[in-house]
Symmetry: C2
Subunit: 697 residues, 2 copies
Amino acid sequence: MAADRVQSLLSNEQLLPLLPVLYIAWVDIQLTSLEGQCIRDLASMLPALDTDSKATLDTWLEPEQPPTATELARLRHRIQRLAGRRRTTLAALTASMQPGVDRDLIAAVAAYARERQISDAGAAAAIFDDSEMPVRQDFAEQQASFDPVELQAILEGEYAPEWALVRDILGTQAFRYDYGDSIPAHRDAVKRWLAILAERGLGTYAMPAADGDQANMPAFIHLFQALAMFDLSLVVKFGVQFGLFGGSILFLGTQKHHQAYLRDIATLKLPGGFAMTESGHGSNVRALETTANYDAATQEFVLNTPTVSARKEWIGNAACDGRCMTVFAQLETAGENYGVHAFVVPIRDASGAALDGVRIEDCGHKMGLNGVDNGRLYFDHVRIPRENLLDRYASVSPEGGYDSSIASDDKRFFTMLGTLVGGRISVAAASITAARKALAIAIRYGALRRQFGGGDGVETRILDYKTHQTRLFPALARNFALHFAVEHLIEQFKQRTPETAREVETLAAGIKSMASWHAIHACQMARECCGGLGFLSENQISIIRRDVDVFATFEGDNTVLMQLLAKNRLSGYAQNFEQDLVISVIRALRDWAKTELVEGNPIIARKTDEAHLRDAAFHGEVLRLRARNQLVSAARRIRKRIDNGIEPFTAFNQIQDHLLAYAQSEMQRHAGEQFTAAVAALADGPSKDALEALRQL
Amino acid sequence: MAADRVQSLLSNEQLLPLLPVLYIAWVDIQLTSLEGQCIRDLASMLPALDTDSKATLDTWLEPEQPPTATELARLRHRIQRLAGRRRTTLAALTASMQPGVDRDLIAAVAAYARERQISDAGAAAAIFDDSEMPVRQDFAEQQASFDPVELQAILEGEYAPEWALVRDILGTQAFRYDYGDSIPAHRDAVKRWLAILAERGLGTYAMPAADGDQANMPAFIHLFQALAMFDLSLVVKFGVQFGLFGGSILFLGTQKHHQAYLRDIATLKLPGGFAMTESGHGSNVRALETTANYDAATQEFVLNTPTVSARKEWIGNAACDGRCMTVFAQLETAGENYGVHAFVVPIRDASGAALDGVRIEDCGHKMGLNGVDNGRLYFDHVRIPRENLLDRYASVSPEGGYDSSIASDDKRFFTMLGTLVGGRISVAAASITAARKALAIAIRYGALRRQFGGGDGVETRILDYKTHQTRLFPALARNFALHFAVEHLIEQFKQRTPETAREVETLAAGIKSMASWHAIHACQMARECCGGLGFLSENQISIIRRDVDVFATFEGDNTVLMQLLAKNRLSGYAQNFEQDLVISVIRALRDWAKTELVEGNPIIARKTDEAHLRDAAFHGEVLRLRARNQLVSAARRIRKRIDNGIEPFTAFNQIQDHLLAYAQSEMQRHAGEQFTAAVAALADGPSKDALEALRQL
C-alpha cells in the first residue's frame, strides 16, 4: 500500500463523509469484500467522484491491503478532530465530518450500521475510547521486524508480474464472493470469472505464442498459484480448461491439432476438459477400459464405454460447460491393443446439447469445489475422425497401421503422462497458497482474540498461548519450506531435459503429496485455532479447508504417489522395475556401506548447545541421515523377502508403510534443503533473519 | 435382519417383478435411501400390496440392513431360474420374472435403469456372470469370524431398546435424505424430523416422568448417540432443544420452572435454546458481558447487551425457530455483581416475530451442520419477571436481596456448569457413532474396490494394501476403545454423587476432546481412503466429516478442555487452584518417589516375545507409566518455575504443550483400560476374540 495513502484520503474533501465508515470497517479484524461493496454503494451517493478520489477509495477497499496501525491511528485522530465531541452513532459521526453532508447518505450509513451489526456503543468506543481498543495498539507495539513488501518480493521472485496481474484482476468488482451460494449460482460465478480470465489473456500463458515456440508453463503455474488466493473452484476450472485440456492437446498433439484448437481453448471459445479417470480406474490408469477401435473403412475411431466401471468419472467441465474432451482410451486397430492413447472427442453441440451417443451425467454435490461441474461420460460407439488421435507419440495410418517412436506400450504411456506433470506441480503450488491464506487469517485472528488471562484484567492474546503457537507456527514454517521446494521444482521443470524428466516427475509426485497434505493439515489447524469463527463460511478458512481436501486425491492419490517416489528412489528408475530390483537393492546396500565409513554419524556427536541445534548444516545432515537409513533398511527388508522367494509385488506391499515413511522423510529432507538454500541465497537483512528463524523452527 | 427374509421375498408372488431391481440395488456397494425411494415408487405400480408384502419390502429397503452374501446369492439364483436365459436389460429381466408383468412397470424399470446409470451390460453381468462379480464372492469367502448381531448386542448393552427405537424411526419414509440441499431446505427438513422425534416421545427422556423423579439422562444420551447414524444437524438440534434448553431448566431451575416449561419443551410446543456463548467469550464464560440488572421497583430483571462482543453468538435454534432461551448473564442487584446466572427469556412471539428489544441475526453459512439455525442475539434492556431467574443455586428476593447456598461466586458458577456435563458426554457419544459410520463405509468400500495388482489379471483389493490397513484399522480400534470409555463415563455419570462430580466432569472433558478429535481424524482417513468417492456428498463420509469438525470446538474447545483435565489431575481438584498448587505438586512428587521404589519399570524387562507384546496387562502398564511420567515431569517443571518466582498462570502457560501431551496420554491410558475391562468382562467366544484382536491393535 502506497505510503501516501492516508494523506491522499485525509486531504480529499470528497471522501471525508466516508472516513468513519472506512475506519470502522478496517478496525474490525478484516474488511470483507461484502463490506467493501457496501461502502462502494455509499460512495455512489456522494457527488460524482473525480478520478483521484476513486483511486484513493479503491486503495482503501482492497481487502488484501489492510492499513497499518499507524495509518489507522492517523485516520482515527482526524475523525476525532472533525467530530469535535463524542458522537454516539456511526450516522452522527458521518454527519459531523463536514457541513452539509447529504441526508440520504446519513440515512444510508445508519442502515449500513444496522445491517453490519455495528452497535452505537461499539462505533463510539472504536473512535473515542483508546483504552477500549487494545487490538490495534497491539499491532502497533508489535511492528514486524522485516519489511513485508521485501518478503513478498522474495517469495514472488521473477514471477511478481504474474502475481500482480492476478491481484489486479481479482480486485475488480466482478470478483465479489458470496458465501454459501447454491451450486448453480456458484457454477455460474466460476464460469463468469473464467471468461474474464480468458479475456484478460491468462489462457494464452499455457500456449506457445507461435508455432514452434514453448508455452510459458512456469508463468502459467504461478498464475494458477496466485488465483488460489481467491476461489479454488475457479482455480480448478482454470486448470482444467487451459492446463489439462489445452496442455494435453499441446503436449500430446501435433501441429494440426495446435492450429485447430489452441486459440479457441485460450479464448474459451471451445470449453473442454480432460477425460482420463474412470469409475473403475483412477490410480491405475493403464488399465482404463474405454476403447477406441479404428475402423479403416471409414477412417474413424469408435469410442465406446463397455461397462459401468468404464464410464469417465469426475471429469471437470463435463457436467455443464465442456464442448470437447481429451479422452483417454485403449487404442485398438487391426485386432491389436496398443494401450491407452488420447483422442479429441466433441461431446456437445454449439447449443450445449449432448451429441449422439454421448451420455453426460452430473456427479452431484461434493464436500467442496462445488463451483466445478464434474460429470460422468459414457460413449456408445461414438465415431471421431482418424485425425482426432493426438499423435505426437504414436499414429495410425489410414489403413490402420500403428506406428510409434516408442516401442514399449508401457513406456509410451508413461512418456505421455509425463508431459502432463505440470498439473501436479500446479496443485502443489496452489496448496501452498491455500494454506498460506488460512494460516494468515488464523494467525491474525490469534493476535487479536483474547481469552482468559492474568490478574490485571486484560485477557491474554490467544496467540501468546503455547498450544496456539505449536499448532500454527510449525505449519507456517512448513509452508515456507514447501514454497521454496515448489519454486525449485518449477525451475527444474522449466529446465528439464529427457534425462531429468523422471526426476522432475518423481519430485512432482512427492511435493504434490506433501503440499496437499500440508494444506489440509494447516487449514485444519487454522480452523480449530479460530474456534467457531473458523467454522463460519464467511471467514473463508472452512471453505478453503473443504475445497483443498480433494487435493490429496486428484492429480494422483497421495498415498500412491508417495510410493511411486519411494520406488523410483529405490530402483534408480530401472526401466523394468521388478526385474532390476534385486540389482538396485544390492547396489544401494553397497553404496551405503561405503559412505557410512567415511561420513560418520552426526547424531553421535550429540552436541546440544543452541548454536549447534539451530545450525542449518546439522539439520540437513540429520534429515538426510534419517531418509537414507530408512531407504537402506527398506532395501534390506525387500532383499530379505526376495531372497526368501517372495514376489516383488508382494514384498513391496508388505513394507508399504515403511516406504511411505521413507518417502515423507525424503521429501522433508528435500524441502529442508530448498529452504536452507533459499535463505542462504538472500542478502543479509531482516527478511533473511525472519526466514532463518522460521527455517530453524 | 430376520433370518427368513429371503424366504418371505422369494415366496411372495406379488413382489417377484421387483427381484431384479432389488438385487441390482443391493449388489452395488450400498442401497441408498434415494434408491429405496425409487423402488418404492416402482412397487406402487404393482397391484395393491398386501400387508405381508409391504412388510417384506420394507425389510429389503432398509439401508442400514444390507443382505448377507448368502441372501444375495439365493436371490440371484432365483432370478437366474426365473429368467431362464441371459437377458440383457433390467427391464427385460423384470418382464421375465412372471407372466404378464405390467407394461408400464417395465417401462418404469427401464427409466429407472437409465436414471440410476445401470448399464445393460452391468445388469446382465451382475445376474449371470459369476466370474464378473467377484465382489460379493469376496464377502462370501470372508465370512466374519464373529456374529455381528452378538457384537451389536455387546455394544448397545442395556440401551438396545433406545437404539432399536431410533432405528425404527429413522427407517420411516419421512427420513429420506437429500444430499446437497439448500440451507433453507435442510433446515426445514431438520425441523420436520425433530417434530417427529418429539411426537414419538424422544424429548421426554430428558425430563423426569413426574415431579421429584430423575430424568433418564443415560438413555437420552444413547438416543442422541444413535441419532448420529443419521444427520448430525438433527442430532445437534435435538440436543439443543431437549438436552440444553430442557436440561438447563431442569437442572438450574426449580419446581415452578419445571411445571411451567418442561412439558412444552418435551413436546416441542415451546422451541428454545441455550444462550451462553458470546462473541467475546466462548471458552472463558465466567467473563460473559451480558447483564441482568434487578429492578426492585417492578420486580423485573433487565437483560442488556452492552457491547458488540456481548452479543450471544452461535446460539442453536435462535436464527429461525426458538421462542424462548435460557440466557446466561451477569446478575446485578442492589449495585452488586454476583457473577453469571441463567434466566428464561422469551425472544419471539407466537407468530415467530422477535419481541421488543430483542434483535436476532442469522450466523449464516457454515462448513457443516447447516441444518441447524445458529443465530446471534442482542438484548436492548429487555425486561423479564423476577421468577425467570433459574434459582436452584441462588435467588433474588422481591426487594433485591441475593441469597445462595454457595457463597463463592466462582464455585457457584462451576457448580451450575457442572450440572450440564451431559452435553459434553453426548458429543463424545455422537462422535463415536459418526466415526463408526464413516469407517464402516470406508472399510466396506476398501473390501470391494480393486486397483493395481499382481500378474494374474485380478487387481488387488485396496483393503489388502498395508497403507490402507494402517490408515483404517487403528482408527477402528480407537473407535472401540473410546466407545467403551464413553459407556464407562455414562455409567459414572449415572451414579455420580457430589463427591464424584468433579471426576465425571474431568473425564467428560477429556473423553469429549479425544472422541471428537478421533472422529475428525477417522472421517478424514475414511474420506481419503475412498478417493474421489469420499469427496462426493451422496457417499456421506464428507458430510459427516464437515459436520463433525465443529465437535472439536463446541461444548468446550478441545485444547482448553484437555488443559482442564491436566490441571485437575495435577492439583487434585484444589478448590483454589493457584494457591494450593505448590502443595499439590509436592505431594505428587513425593507419591511418585514412593511408588517408583516398589513398582519397578515394566519397560526395563524388554521382553519382546509375542505373548508379552500382546498382553493387556503389559499394555496397561506401559500406558500408565507414560502418563504418570509425563504428569510428574510436568509437576517438576512447574515447581521449578514457581521456585524461581514465576507466577502460576505463566508457569502453566510455559509448559502448555507438555500438559496437552500428558492429557492425551492420560486419556489413552484411560480408554485402553476401559477397553481391556470391557473385553475381560465378556464370555469367551468369537466376539470376544474379535474385540481382543482390536484391543491389541
